[in-house]
């Protein structure tokens, strides 16, 4: 086999594979985007202890999320979107379309940024849903934390990941893990922000008075657990101005 055959073979193969993959990606993109939006709505609702399916997520989102709010670093509401009437009460930015990751990057770069949050209202619960985003061991971890009306006690939480190791770090997306956050508090008695973090070896290791700020970390998933702790601390910390207003 001559060199020119090898070059031709390789070139044709590569172009062929590139065409197949990129056309698949382009054709499927709208469907994938829709699924991603639905997954995001489900994540928000699941943090509020509901269990929507892929089919009724949009409907439940419109039913229970009353407002999408965007705030600025000073904790002022700069944009409010009424989900039911599909109208802006203030501003022109939908919190749902704000990419938290980009905004957090702006923040660490010292630039101007905005932060999204959601008001959840049902018969039994009124919650403030705060999305979080950060790094685990292998890739991004993200989720939502729902605060009760005292803006201190956690009413529900739910986390997701893209690439954590199954059975180890990936356990953060299980309910046994996120359910531990219910009833925990992010401010201490004196009103100082202390966040909530996973504790290696279990929250029971903490002194009695601190246990309300800790949950059990995942065995074998220490770096993911620590990553989540840092993520929550960092992101919730950015909302403190708003929460204490």
């Amino acid at each position: 086999m001559s060199n020119s055959y090898i070059f031709r073979y390789a070139a044709i193969l590569v172009v062929l594979v590139a065409v197949i993959l990129s056309s698949a990606a382009m054709i499927l993109k709208p469907l994938q985007d829709k699924n991603i939006a639905i997954a995001k709505m489900r994540g928000i609702l699941e943090a509020c202890n509901l269990h929507p399916t892929a089919d009724d997520a949009v409907q439940m989102y419109e039913q229970f999320i009353s407002r999408e709010v965007v705030i600025n670093p000073q904790g002022e509401e700069i944009s409010i979107y009424d989900v039911k009437s599909k109208e802006f009460v203030l501003g022109t930015t939908r919190a749902f379309e704000v990419d938290l990751k980009t905004q957090l990057k702006h923040k660490s770069a010292g630039e101007d940024y905005i932060l999204p949050l959601y008001d959840f209202v049902s018969q039994n619960d009124t919650l403030l849903v705060i999305p979080v985003h950060g790094r685990g061991l292998w890739g991004p971890i993200y989720g939502n934390i729902a605060l009760k009306t005292d803006r201190n006690t956690i009413g529900g939480a739910r986390f997701f990941h893209d690439k954590e190791t199954p059975g180890l770090g990936a356990e953060i997306d299980q309910y046994w893990f996120s359910d531990q956050f219910k009833g925990k508090q992010i401010f201490d008695g004196s009103g100082k922000f202390v966040s909530v973090r996973p504790i290696k070896g279990g929250a029971g290791k903490l002194p009695e008075s601190q246990r309300i700020h800790g949950v059990d970390a995942v065995s074998g998933g220490t770096i993911t657990s620590n990553g989540l702790g840092t993520t929550i601390d960092h992101v919730l910390g950015s909302y403190v101005v708003y929460l204490t207003k």
């Binding site: 390789a10 994938q32 059975g167 990936a170």
Partner: protein
């Protein structure tokens, strides 16, 4: 004359059936050829991911085997490995894209495994050792056989690791709370990677003590 006889060979002749049954025991990719150990360690802490991984590898190795077998006469031998890699990577990405569009939940489960499937030594091993020299149908059977041989080891590992490491199976609690109250502890070692090696070693030990042919001569 001989080749004509081969053409008529039925789709499930004894020779073909062996392509499926041999990798389950005598030529098992994990316990005999010791390939694919990396993923056997990584995804077997729980039964469910082990099962998903097993299924995905079986599908991908069968498809890749067929594609490579169809291309086998045209592939320049000097770049065959990279051609095989390209085919496997393209197949895996394609499957992942389709899942993301139509069954998003499954794709979220699988996303972790995509990288692991591409680098799985079993795939390259089968493409190189079998698909490059055989027709598509036997190559397909060989892929299914090796996939299943890989699968049962993974599922066995997942079963023991989840049951004794977490007290659950497929996420459901099996070991009752009363055991824990009576002083029972989950074995934390089992969810760490070394436990998978110890278990694979145990399976190899059992297999070899039952089948002396597998023991190398010194």
């Amino acid at each position: 004359m001989k080749s004509q006889q081969k053409e008529k060979e039925s789709l499930f002749s004894p020779r073909y059936r062996k392509l499926i049954s041999n990798p389950l025991s005598l030529e098992n990719p994990i316990t005999v050829q010791v390939l694919g150990i990396c993923s056997a360690l990584a995804v077997t802490t729980k039964l469910k991911p082990a099962f998903v991984m097993a299924l995905s590898v079986t599908v991908v190795v069968a498809l890749a085997n067929v594609v490579i077998s169809l291309l086998r006469n045209g592939i320049p031998s000097r770049i065959r490995i990279i051609v095989q890699l390209t085919v496997v990577a393209a197949l895996v990405i394609l499957v992942d894209q389709v899942l993301k569009a139509f069954v998003y939940d499954v794709s979220k489960q699988l996303s972790v495994f995509v990288g692991l499937i591409i680098t799985n030594c079993i795939l390259m091993g089968r493409l190189e050792a079998f698909a490059m020299a055989n027709k598509p149908w036997p190559a397909f059977l060989d892929g299914i056989g090796n996939g299943l041989g890989y699968s049962w080891i993974l599922i066995a590992l997942g079963f023991f690791r989840e049951l004794f490491g977490n007290g659950t199976l497929w996420g459901y609690r099996i070991i009752p709370q009363s055991f824990y109250e009576a002083g029972y502890f989950n074995n934390g070692l089992l969810i760490l990677p070394p436990a998978a090696l110890i278990l694979v070693g145990t399976i190899i030990w059992i297999q070899r003590s039952r089948n002396k042919n597998l023991i190398e001569e010194y």
